[in-house]
Symmetry: C2
Subunit: 192 residues, 2 copies
DNA sequence: GGCTTAGGTTAACGACCGCTAACGGCCCTG
DNA sequence: CAGGGCCGTTAGCGGTCGTTAACCTAAGCC
């Protein structure tokens, strides 16, 4: 009895395909019929699983944000006390996420404004907490740099790591290694 | 007689507002009535100036790409022979652009797929040439790094510099200086 | 064996949206 | 002062899209 999901549930299928389609053509650019077709059912059948198109997007965005935050917290706890190792671990985790879920990364910062007020607030709160993990550890490593600057730098490095959807080829390992070096290089320049 | 545009023409007004709205709510999320209202006319009046909504987006994206490329070429020519200065100049120019036209930056890599085939090919070609300017000069500075890696690194630094829409505060000068340092730091890590 | 529930189907409604049609004022020019 | 662009307007058409309604089938349960 494996604890891994053996077969993806229908909800998960739908979310996965919806993420792919939203990333490719934008939230408004994809119809529910299209999402349905992608999982082998048609149009309104989706409403047995989700309250509406908006609900799919909301679940996607909240899910990403939660996974990023909890993953980040684990990594912070694991290497607590060694800021250098914490930062490296956060970078590695973010790279893994960016490479594994390019579609989600794309949707993540592109369609946030399409959410209902409540969901949007939740997502933003989760994002903010995730950013704060990074800001805290970077400030430990660069105590002489102001907090606002560090926060901008963290966002900028996110932009660097999330550029992954735009790039082709080069193989998983090489891409990981390269992004790792670039991110460390950018943060290293904070004190120079 | 100044060579600067004294009053923006109506076309320019429309393009500017359309860029802002597209950036905020996405191409499909904005109606022509809304664009019209933003410039004080209503809905179908836009069709005196543009063939359609698609044409506005096309002109925006082609315009950005052309400005980036010609600006980049000038900078390359100005500092020719000194790769370090060329790279610095390219970075500075891209930062200026990113800070001056946040809306355009957002629309730039978000709505490319909404273009008609011909326009999309043109934009991609311009983008590719711009990237090549960067790749060439970075390869001069890091001859031992493979071309594919350099190209990925350039895209990643674009992601870093284009993260500008996400960040607040900190003042123009400080932001410029910070982004400059981060970009140089990232490229510097290519050889480490 | 009947009842319920889960998970589909097709038809259709209502809203919205891009775009066109038809029209009208303003301003320049001969 | 007549005429023709230029630049607007409002009305409305046609298509698309999210959503609901009504119905159907297969599986599990008492």
């Amino acid at each position: 009895m494996s604890t891994r999901a053996a077969a993806p549930t229908r909800r998960e299928q739908i979310l996965s395909e919806a993420a792919r389609l939203f990333a490719a053509r934008g939230f408004h650019g994809v119809g529910v019929d299209e999402i349905g077709a992608a999982v082998g059912i048609s149009g309104p059948g989706l409403y047995r699983h989700f309250a509406g198109k908006d609900a799919m997007l909301a679940e996607l965005l909240v899910g990403i944000s939660e996974r990023l935050l909890t993953g980040g917290r684990h990594r912070v706890a694991e290497a607590a006390g060694d800021p250098g190792r914490v930062l490296s671990s956060l970078i590695d985790g973010h790279i893994d996420f960016a490479l594994d879920d390019r579609a989600l990364i794309t949707v993540h910062d592109r369609e946030l404004d399409r959410l209902r007020e409540a969901d949007r607030k939740l997502v933003r709160q989760l994002q903010r907490q995730y950013v704060e993990l990074w800001v805290d550890v970077v400030r430990e490593l660069h105590p002489e740099v102001g907090e606002a600057e560090v926060r901008v730098a963290v966002h900028a490095v996110f932009g660097l790591l999330n550029s992954t959807p735009h790039l082709a080829a080069l193989g998983r390992e090489a891409t990981e290694s390269l992004l790792r070096r670039l991110a460390h290089g950018a943060f290293g320049a904070l004190s120079a």
